[in-house]
Point group: C2
Chain length 350, copies 2
DNA sequence: TTGAAAGCGCTAACAC
DNA sequence: GTGTTAGCGCTTTCAA
């Protein structure tokens, strides 16, 4: 049934080594032999077994990618870059979907991959030790570790950037809606954004109101709803991610709070969705973070010394933030506000 | 460096076969031996090599997934279902990103996977033959083939559904903006949607205006822009996918054409984005199509006979379609129109 | 209940 | 240039 190298060799009247040489492009094969072997390979539709190759060479030419919830918008954008860089490097990509954090320890990586790219997470020290003894290189995207190559952003500075924008607009009662910090996933990025934001608010003589919950739109919405129901509600909300920011916008809409007239909202990441809804946000280069991470990993597999890099952040002003107290003024702002409300209304009813 | 089964065996004072038995949960091992072996495994952090296992057993416990452009919104939603079902089935998932169609023939699948799930595409007959001789099962999602298990929708009926909605609203000049049908990708789905749409229009005594191009927002936008610049422009546009529908909305906005007042737009798929922008569309169950496809594939790998299934379609009315000629009437419609315009404007400027 | 040994399909010395 | 052969790390008879 399955065609093997031996079959090819005998049909071509040569030894298996010769076939192997042809397969691997060794120059030490005469042109005639090469042609004959090639012909038999095509005729039989022969394809070398990756498993046998891996066992023999000790390399798989494959890298693994793990990320919690790879279907999250920001993860998808990162994967786009990863995929591109990986295939440019001549590797295969195997995607491990981590449904539960504790399942990491059971990832069957042995003999499957030469390197592992962890996106928005980091294996435990014991898992790292296992990976090391297995000879598997590791690199991190959107996470940092003292001994591993990584590409990340300065989340603390990002949090500060977001809040400084709000402060400049005159806001003083500012809230943060971010991730649960006790969850096993421990998205450190949200925590650091919060820290940067809190510091900036404190320097302005205020105090950041903090609300945390699971990372999704629904929880962000209910957290925001409660904030808006406060006696003295915030005039601006910084959401730990764009996804959560959309939840905040939904809450504002449900409570008939005008954005940006009565409430400014700023997100983080600048996923495609942020553009669609006109969300002001802190942009980080998602796709290139993935590509860059993949490159660092391939370097590491090649034995290069550890390298890390930090990507730049920038503020993207759209239509969900405005000066404090400024009554719903210009026509543009009116239009934007109306528009936003319409969008959310439709979303809720859908 | 790398821990092998032999190492474990000698440290535990047993033969490799015994370690193998422990690894595979064979009952024919005494409790004491089992415990001793387990202890050594943990101590050494041993993990069996998937490559060696695969070579020995001939199975990899891994399925591959190919799809053109896996970062497209609809593909991502399908992958979500695939990933879930695959891991429920105890398999690993390896994602092949097909940047160029002609690269399919070079996918190194031999000895890597037991089954291949093709999403929105189908391998050529010769590739299928190769896969067959390699003993790799194949299943299709969003595609059909007389000999392969598949899960798909009735695209022709879907196209009809979309257009009938427009006809009911009184539209007679209807255009279709879809995919290039000559591209090597040959997204048959777009072609079939067009056929269904054309038939419905013909039955109503009209003729569908057809415009085709590469599958992305930008091309859809420029095709729509040209349609709207016609002397006698269509009053409704059916886009082959939600992504393309968004491009159409952008074009309408740029041309100051009111949606749905002067132009109705309907999409296809119902990706998350459609909800966000309030797009009327034909919904297909994306995530469950992936899950179902994965299940069919696993059945096939288990030797079960071919099964196919068709998923249901339904019309989702949102705010981009309205009755022909009805002047921008109710407050709701005004708001929706204004809102949509705002959204597009922000998107363009971002 | 256990161990020895024969493959699985390939690569890489090493001889010729 | 080309063939022979010894592994790579595991599973799986077959004996004990």
């Amino acid at each position: 049934m399955k065609v093997t190298i031996a079959e090819v060799a005998s049909r071509a009247g040569v030894g298996v080594a010769t076939v192997s040489r042809v397969l691997n492009g060794s120059p030490a094969v005469s042109e005639t032999t090469r042609r004959r072997v090639r012909a038999v390979i095509d005729e039989l539709g022969y394809e070398p077994s990756a498993a046998a190759r891996a066992l023999s060479t000790g390399r798989t030419r494959t890298v693994g990618v793990v990320t919690p919830f790879f279907t999250q918008p920001s993860a998808v954008e990162r994967l786009r870059g990863v995929s591109r860089a990986i295939s440019e490097g001549g590797y295969q990509l195997i995607l491990f979907d981590l449904a539960q954090p504790d399942r990491f320890a059971r990832l069957p990586v042995g003999g499957r991959i030469d390197g592992l790219l962890c996106v928005s997470m980091c294996p435990s020290e014991s898992d790292l030790a296992r990976l090391r003894t297995a000879g598997i290189a590791v690199a991190l995207v959107d996470f940092e570790h003292p001994e591993l190559p990584s590409v990340a952003i300065d989340d603390t500075a990002g949090g500060r950037l977001a809040v400084e924008h709000l402060l400049e607009l005159g806001h003083r009662r500012i809230a943060f809606v971010g991730d649960d910090e006790e969850s096993p996933w421990a998205f450190q990025s949200s925590a650091r954004r919060r820290v940067g934001a809190a510091a900036a608010v404190a320097e302005a003589g205020g105090r950041l109101i903090v609300r945390r919950g699971p990372h999704d739109r629904e929880h962000a919405r209910s957290l925001a709803a409660r904030l808006l129901a406060l006696d003295d509600p915030p005039t601006a909300i910084f959401a730990g991610s764009d996804l959560q920011a959309v939840g905040v916008l939904e809450a504002a809409d449900a409570a008939s709070v005008d954005v940006p007239g009565d409430l400014s909202v700023i997100g983080f990441d600048d996923v495609d969705l942020a553009r669609y809804v006109g969300l002001t946000t802190v942009a980080q280069p998602l796709e290139s973070s993935g590509a860059q991470g993949a490159r660092l990993l391939m370097e590491a597999m090649g034995g290069a010394p550890r390298r890390t890099c930090r990507l730049d952040l920038r503020l993207v002003r759209r239509s969900t933030t405005a000066s404090r107290g400024k009554s719903p003024g210009t026509r543009n702002q009116m239009a934007a506000a109306g528009s936003r409300r319409g969008f959310i209304a439709r979303m809720a009813s859908a």
